[in-house]
């Protein structure tokens, strides 16, 4: 049992802000008064002792869990991948006022408020290089994301309400992650894929912002969702300058929530946060002289690539592990090298001597070695070394290093088809988008293509969203297989198109393709016209061009999963169990930059000034001609000249005329004069008042 008190600084609690709480007077002492607790009687003997002796309410955590892991992987192009994986889980709660120990309250509230069933938000800068960094493994399928922001969410609400919930969700996320995700609320930016993206029933929404900047301000709130923030544990490695110096970084947040009752184990909210960074280890920092030899891989360590060490685990994490992943290409290459060097025959991978073999050296002895089991074909399999951070502390930080002894050249396993997309045509009026799929080496040896009706076919799904100002003509879809034009019906199995509506919705194209197995290449082209935007719709940097979001190419018949031999440890490690999940191979194409006709933005101003001048000249002169009366003008002029003299001088002149006895000429026609006129009465009153004042002051 516990009692919690909170100090409120809201205006209602502080008597309209007059009773201020100053935190400089901390620590505070609080007393409870008039406080009556009704509690159930508990069996005193066992439970209470357990709680007090362990002293860890946190570990109990109301069923909440948190674990942190980091996976490091060398890439063939002398770069290193660092993949952080944090996972928290909270059990489902029916009550609203739940207390959160480890699980971020903001996320729990978000799930509850917007009825989110599943959601993924990613912030990415840079492009995942499928050729060099691989495209077949679960790591790239799950974590290679298009540049900018990508958000999709599945809602547990009726279809008519999904758009409203989506809009509110984008606003909340934009506040939570310091990004302009709220631009996704406009119906021109999001779409509802049905065929290719994920099995959904109309309650999925997908939107991307290709130009969204990603920087520290996005990472900081993301880190604040972790129970240890970036103060302890693996997240302490996240030195902002080192991360953003990388070639690719993608921070991702994935939410899954399930109602209670469906499944006892998985019910609740699961939060998976990953940060994937590709960094270039600087070889001069290690102090080795290998830099002269260009083909040797640079040696690196955690401290050399991040500039920091791991100061032990985050104490409230259930598990805290670091993995080093050598992919199957590399392992195969190492095996080949070993076979050549006959003297190292004794050194097999299964033995413990692998971490100090002839090719490289790992500075820390791994606690566990996992080897992938590939039942399908007898090719080489990848190896993962596991290191537990639990025994390290501030005084003895964890630092993993990899030193290469001999040059190794290998390549990562790629997706069956390498997808790229480009623009065709020139000019500001029309153009064409082309998606080309080139077969890669890896697909040739793979027997996983489906054989249907005696025909060997490869299924490819394409999901493409184009903004409304790119007006795509879907009837112009042309298909080329092995550079030969083919009829659409031969290749396209299913197609779903929702044409764009101007300023209302984007164009969406979803295609399910069945390509013949042996085909080397396939290409699709679509023609489009470029639309005109209203002057207010152009962004401030319109001359930079407009982005077409990445197309998503997926290969549902291929599964990006790794098989490990059954192990108790594997199920406790979120990152490895994630690798073992079946997921289709995915890849994103490049973002296209389209120049649109941009107006001269000073033009409206020029037009307004010119038209105003013309109008003024025209109407002014016309009015002058029509309305002008020459005699009247002269009369007015004359009268004005007569009136110009002030009334004092007029009076004087009249006085002098009177004195001389001559009648003065009257410039204006005088009014008929009567003795008892209004003017006279006024004059009398005036004189009387003057007299009274004079009398009063001087009398």
């Amino acid at each position: 049992m516990q009692i919690e008190a909170s100090l409120w600084n809201a205006s209602w609690a502080t008597d309209g802000g007059r009773m201020q709480i100053s935190l400089s007077y901390a620590p505070f002492e609080a007393r409870y008064r008039g406080f009556d607790v009704a509690r159930c009687s508990v069996d005193k003997s066992s439970d209470m002792n357990q709680f007090s002796s362990s002293g860890s309410v946190l570990k109990q955590g109301g069923g909440e869990e948190f674990s942190e892991e980091l996976l490091l992987k060398p890439f063939p192009d002398r770069k290193v991948l660092a993949h952080f994986h944090f996972q928290s889980r909270a059990p489902h709660s029916s009550s609203h006022g739940r207390h959160h120990h480890l699980f971020p309250k903001a996320i729990a509230q978000l799930v509850k408020k917007f009825r989110v069933k599943e959601m993924e938000l990613s912030f990415t800068q840079g492009r995942w290089r499928y050729e060099q960094w691989g495209g077949f493994d679960p790591l790239s399928s799950n974590n290679a994301k298009p540049p900018g922001v990508e958000l999709w969410a599945v809602f547990d609400v009726p279809q008519s309400l999904v758009d409203v919930y989506w809009r509110n969700l984008t606003h909340t996320l934009s506040g939570l992650f310091c990004a302009s995700i709220n631009f996704l609320e406009s119906s021109t930016t999001y779409s509802a894929p049905e065929l290719t993206f994920k099995p959904s029933f109309g309650n999925l929404r997908y939107g991307t912002l290709p130009r969204e900047a990603v920087c520290t301000e996005n990472l900081t709130p993301w880190l604040k969702l972790l129970p240890c923030r970036d103060k302890a544990g693996l997240s302490a490695l996240m030195d902002r300058p080192s991360i953003y110096r990388g070639f690719y970084h993608s921070q991702r947040l994935r939410l899954t929530s399930s109602e209670s009752g469906s499944d006892e184990v998985d019910s609740g909210i699961g939060l998976e946060q990953t940060l994937t960074v590709v960094l270039q280890p600087s070889s001069w920092r290690t102090g080795k002289t290998y830099s002269v030899e260009t083909n040797i891989q640079p040696s690196w360590s955690i401290s050399s690539i991040f500039g920091r060490n791991i100061p032990g685990k985050c104490v409230i994490a259930k598990s805290s592990n670091v993995y080093l992943h050598l992919d199957n290409g590399l392992v195969g290459e190492l095996k080949n090298l070993e076979r050549e060097n006959a003297k190292y025959v004794a050194n097999t991978f299964e033995s413990e001597g692998f971490q100090s073999n002839h090719a490289f050296k790992i500075s820390v002895t791994p606690d566990k070695v996992f080897e992938e089991v590939d039942y399908l074909h007898g090719k080489s399999t990848s190896v993962i070394y596991g290191f537990s951070v639990e025994k390290y502390s501030d005084s003895q930080p964890f630092d993993l290093g990899l030193t290469w002894k001999i040059p190794v050249v290998w390549s990562c396993q790629q997706a069956p088809l390498h997808a790229s997309r480009f623009l065709m045509g020139s000019g500001n009026e029309r153009g064409a988008i082309a998606i080309s799929l080139e077969s890669t080496e890896s697909s040739e040896g793979l027997p996983t293509s489906h054989i249907i009706d005696g025909r060997c076919e490869l299924r490819v799904d394409i999901f493409q969203v184009v903004p409304w100002y790119i007006k795509v003509y879907f009837h112009t879809l042309q298909v080329f297989v092995d550079k030969q034009p083919r009829a659409m019906a031969d290749v396209v199995d299913k197609i779903r198109v929702s044409p764009s509506k101007d300023k209302v919705s984007p164009g969406v194209m979803e295609m399910i393709l069945k390509l013949p197995c042996g085909s080397k290449s396939a290409a699709f082209s679509l023609e489009f016209d470029k639309g005109f935007l209203h002057i207010d719709e152009y962004p401030p940097d319109a001359n930079q061009g407009f982005d077409i979001p990445s197309a998503l190419i997926s290969f549902p018949s291929f599964n990006a999963r790794m098989n490990f031999s059954e192990d108790e440890f594997l199920n406790n490690s979120p990152i490895l169990s994630k690798f073992q999940e079946t997921s289709p191979v995915l890849s994103y194409t490049e973002v296209l930059l389209i120049p649109l006709t941009t107006p001269d933005f000073s033009m409206p101003y020029n037009v307004i000034t010119i038209t105003c001048t013309v109008f003024a000249l025209y109407f002014g002169s016309l009015l002058n001609v029509l309305r002008r009366r020459v005699d009247e003008e002269e009369r007015i002029l004359r009268s004005r000249a007569g009136r110009k003299a002030g009334w004092i001088s007029q009076l004087l002149s009249r006085l002098s005329a009177k004195l001389r006895g001559r009648p003065q000429e009257q410039p204006t026609s005088s009014l008929p004069y009567s003795f008892i006129s209004f003017r006279l009465v006024l004059k009398i009153l005036l004189v009387a008042s003057i007299a009274v004042t004079w009398q009063y002051y001087f009398g």
Binding site: Q20, G175, T216, L680
Partner: protein, 403 residues
């Protein structure tokens, strides 16, 4: 209130008119009184960088420097609305990723590890800026993007970018005009969104942006007068562009010496600007601000230092308002004068009568004296006689003249 009521009756107005006047009067005076007696509750800062593109790096560095300063002096992140029109820290042209410097010695990374940008990129528009100030948001906008100030708030509004005569450019595509700013501030005042507001602007011809301001409690500092430019301070050859503006540089130089507990006054900040170093004349408008600048510490706006009230009992809300008590007599006299003026002239301009007690309309004063003397006269018959006698010659002259 009762005193005032009696006063009205003694003047012998009709009851309806008196009630009407009382209503107008009490609403206006009680509002003013509330604005003056409301305690300072919290501090907010709205920091805006309005310029896009890499060569405007210095504007973002200016804003982030101020962000760092106010955070250091105690305003928490949730009470800072930071608007940055472009991303400089992770810009592809930035040689130092995730870092922004305001000095070529690169000692201080302004971006740090804990920066919260509320509006960025295309979101920094005049519309959003005015929405933040006036609090007119869509319902879905999260709290972190709103200025949730109250009538006891002190707000610092800092803006930097490219400006001109009575305007400030937003992202090279829109302008904020001085009228827009003044209207927004007036609306804020009427919505009780601030007690005191300091507007600090670092642009060319910054002083012109304040020309339309009329709301009480507003203090404004600009980097340059009309017709003057605001210049950058120095170029960082590593970054490749100028990294800070002169006005902001010297403002920061002033603040770097301070901590939260210093009592440097606003006037010492204002006098610290040296026109020869600034290459422009810093302008400050104080006529709308009632307090003496010598007595107001800079932490009034740039920090979050508040007066604390100690109460003996924990839950009783009877607090001794000593500070407000001392102000009361003066305030009553103000009300008194004001009410009289209202009765006599029946016209009141809400914004113009800031200092009623010493510059009352001369005509009104004369009329009052005249009325007083009129009542004291005893020989009223002789007065009338004299008047009639004088009237005749005057009448004669005038008829003779006008014939």
């Amino acid at each position: 209130m009762m005193v005032r009521y009696k006063m009205h009756n003694s003047f012998g107005f009709k009851s309806l008119a008196a009630m009407l006047l009382l209503l107008i009067l009490s609403s206006s005076t009680s509002y003013r009184a509330s604005a003056e007696t409301t305690m300072h509750t919290n501090n907010w800062a709205v920091l805006v960088c309005t310029s896009r593109f890499w060569f405007n790096y210095r504007h973002m560095a200016n804003t982030l420097s101020l962000y760092r300063t106010v955070k250091r002096l105690g305003i928490p992140d949730e009470r800072i609305i930071l608007m940055l029109a472009d991303d400089m820290a992770c810009n592809a042209r930035n040689k130092y990723p995730a870092q922004v410097f305001n000095n070529e010695n690169h000692k201080l990374n302004l971006y740090g590890d804990n920066v919260e940008v509320d509006y960025r990129g295309y979101e920094v528009t005049v519309e959003n800026f005015l929405r933040v100030l006036t609090g007119r948001h869509e319902a879905a906008v999260p709290r972190s993007k709103r200025l949730l100030s109250d009538e006891g708030s002190h707000i610092l509004l800092y803006m930097t970018g490219h400006g001109g005569d009575e305007f400030l450019k937003f992202q090279d595509s829109e302008e904020l005009q001085s009228h827009d700013l003044a209207d927004a501030v007036k609306q804020m005042k009427e919505k009780h969104r601030f007690k005191e507001l300091l507007i600090m602007v670092d642009t060319c011809q910054a002083a012109t942006l304040f020309s339309q301001l009329h709301s009480l409690g507003v203090l404004a500092i600009g980097s340059s007068m009309k017709g003057e430019n605001s210049y950058s301070h120095h170029l960082d050859s590593d970054v490749g562009v100028s990294v800070v503006d002169r006005f902001t540089f010297y403002t920061l130089a002033f603040f770097e010496k301070l901590n939260m507990y210093d009592n440097a006054s606003l006037s010492s900040l204002f006098t610290s600007y040296n026109p020869t170093l600034l290459m422009s004349t810093a302008y400050y408008r104080t006529d709308l601000y009632q307090r003496k600048l010598e007595e107001v510490p800079v932490t009034n706006f740039f920090g979050s230092v508040m007066e604390t009230i100690h109460t003996d009992s924990a839950y009783r809300t009877t607090f001794s308002r000593k500070t407000s008590e001392t102000i009361m007599p003066l305030q009553q006299s103000v009300e008194h004068d004001e009410s009289r003026q209202l009765i006599n002239s029946n016209v009141q301009d809400q914004t113009s009568d800031t200092k009623i007690e010493d510059k009352q309309c001369p005509f009104t004063r004369r009329w009052n004296a005249f009325q007083d003397k009129l009542e004291k006269i005893e020989r009223i018959d002789s007065l009338v006689n004299y008047g009639l006698i004088i009237m005749f010659p005057l009448l004669l002259i005038s008829t003779w003249l006008s014939r």
